[in-house]
């Protein structure tokens, strides 16, 4: 909008809004800085033992030393496993949700199994998974799948089944087949649900991958955390945790970006 057309009240309102946004961001940054500063100060003063608690400066040193301690390899391993686990989990989850939407019978039959599987702590399956698929990357990906797939199925099936019945009835008045109803009504209607599920899923995949790496791995951030803990290199552990936090945020952003792209495309061309 052109600036000249804005009334002075409007301009004041917009300015106020902008100021508020900036204040929120500023406060958030301040909290982090305060936290890091306090941590560093207490470590320098010897109030807390930086051997056990590490310190921002030591973490910084570890991060900068990425060429020697193989951080990049560990990061790329974890990212690769997470992306594969996420993609497979989403694919399998969506397919199963479609099958259960298609056949109410199958959905009813599998309901109690899904509920039990959903609340079962998947870590308990760790040994079984290692024995079945071997102590390698496969086991880690299967762990990620075990943790994320069921939730994806439940979430998406819930969305599919909650599709406005009147819309489906409308499609049927034109003689729509079940396939057409799904593609033209159910899927676009649930695009938000789908992406909400993806947002949950990317997080869960990361949880699954780290859990898997705890159990069995030669590389990855999960491996680094376990290794660092065993040899009392807390700098390594803390650095890994921080990288993980950043990674989680970035992956989430990636899904958001994808959502924006897809939603825009859908509204313009479908």
């Amino acid at each position: 909008m052109n600036k000249e057309f804005l009334s002075s009240e409007r301009r004041r309102y917009l300015k106020e809004q902008k100021r508020r946004k900036r204040m929120i961001l500023l406060t958030q940054v301040l909290i982090i800085l305060l936290f890091l500063g306090l941590w560093e100060l207490l470590a320098q003063l010897g109030v807390i033992d930086s051997f056990i608690m590490s310190s921002p400066s030591r973490i910084g040193k570890t991060l900068l030393n990425f060429q020697n301690n193989g951080l990049l390899l560990h990061i790329s391993t974890t990212v690769a496993e997470t992306v594969v686990g996420f993609a497979l989990g989403t694919l399998i989850g969506t397919l199963l949700a479609v099958v259960f939407w298609w056949s109410e019978f199958l959905a009813k039959v599998s309901e109690p199994f899904l509920v039990v599987l959903n609340s079962l702590p998947k870590v308990a399956l760790g040994p079984v998974i290692i024995i079945w698929v071997g102590a390698g990357t496969e086991a880690i990906i299967v762990m990620a799948l075990a943790i994320s797939t069921i939730v994806a199925v439940l979430e998406m099936l819930g969305g599919f089944l909650a599709t406005d019945r009147e819309l489906l009835r409308m499609a049927r008045t034109f003689g729509a087949s079940r396939m057409q109803s799904f593609l033209k009504i159910v899927l676009p209607y649930n695009i938000r649900t789908l992406f909400n599920s993806l947002k949950v899923n990317i997080g869960l995949s990361l949880v699954g991958v780290i859990t898997g790496e705890f159990l069995v791995s030669k590389a990855g951030l999960g491996y680094l955390i376990v290794y660092g803990g065993q040899v009392f290199k807390l700098d390594l552990v803390m650095s890994s945790v921080i990288i993980l936090a950043v990674l989680a945020a970035l992956l989430y952003r990636g899904v958001l970006l994808l959502e924006r792209l897809v939603v825009r495309r859908l509204s313009h061309t479908s």
């Binding site: 009147e166 409308m170 049927r172 008045t173 034109f174 003689g175 479908s270």
Partner: protein
């Protein structure tokens, strides 16, 4: 048609072919024969419809009124082929109905426009589903949009349109598939009263212009009289055709003009009495 001023009344539960009898069989577009429906549910069996027979000839506008919950909408669903009757049959041009054939256009109470599609894409939905999307059918849809004042809004989304315009878009979506028979299921009841009056006038004009045979279910007696040539009055459940009211107005009738006609209250009183709400 040359009916007298007074509406015809048929016997209880009898067939309601009175208006149609005068026409030759070949002009019957829709024939409904001894339709019956029993619902099965966990709580037991409900007899919704019992022995419903009537027919509709080409170009007629027929309304069905009845007490609420008597199965009016169920009747339409059966005629549209969405619901299997327990007994009886429905013939369109002498053939059993099939929703996929596109012979029947069915408009529901809500417009059910898809919020993620533009108006133009919404209007094409029926054609898409029936696999009739051709250069020619697109042209026809565009012509309808132009004729009924939605062409400028073709790239807008449903949320940007008023209730009346949305309903018109839904009607065009149905008309674009060129159905032989149009079914309207309380198609205006989601609108506020004033919009409703203007939309019914609009729709009536459109349907007459497109020369559509229409079967409309409504709970609004004035609406049924003002729009249709014949009003079928259903009884309470299990529904039978209680009686039929033939309406005669001047040739240049519109719903609004009918409401001002002196015959209007005669028809209204008749239907009101037949509905027997206080029984």
């Amino acid at each position: 048609m040359t009916q007298g001023l007074l509406p015809l009344k048929t016997q209880k539960g009898g067939s309601a072919l009175s208006g149609a009898n005068k026409l030759t069989m070949s002009s019957q577009l829709l024939t409904v024969e001894r339709l019956a429906l029993k619902y099965q549910s966990g709580n037991g069996e409900t007899e919704a419809l019992k022995n419903i027979s009537f027919s509709v000839s080409e170009g007629e506008y027929i309304s069905i009124v009845g007490p609420s919950g008597c199965g009016k909408s169920t009747l339409l669903s059966i005629i549209a082929g969405l619901l299997e009757p327990t007994a009886g049959r429905v013939l369109l041009d002498g053939l059993p109905v099939d929703p996929a054939s596109g012979g029947i256009g069915y408009m529901l109470q809500r417009d059910n426009l898809l919020e993620w599609r533009s108006i133009y894409k919404n209007v094409l939905l029926g054609l898409e589903i029936q696999g009739k999307l051709t250069e020619e059918s697109r042209e026809y849809a565009i012509t309808l949009l132009k004729n009924y004042g939605l062409y400028e809004f073709r790239d807008k989304y449903p949320a940007q349109l008023s209730g009346g315009m949305r309903q018109r878009a839904a009607l065009i979506r149905t008309l674009a598939t060129r159905p032989r028979l149009l079914l309207l299921d309380e198609a205006f009841s989601a609108l506020d009263y004033q919009t409703r009056l203007s939309v019914t006038d609009d729709v009536y004009r459109i349907l007459r212009k497109e020369n559509k045979t229409t079967l409309m279910v409504t709970h609004d007696i004035p609406e049924s009289i003002s729009m249709s040539d014949r009003v079928l009055i259903l009884s309470r459940r299990p529904a039978v055709i209680q009686s039929v009211c033939e309406t005669t107005f001047s040739d240049d009738r519109t719903p609004l003009r009918c409401r001002g006609d002196s015959r209007f209250s005669t028809y209204f009183n008749f239907i009101w009495k037949e509905l027997d709400v206080h029984e």
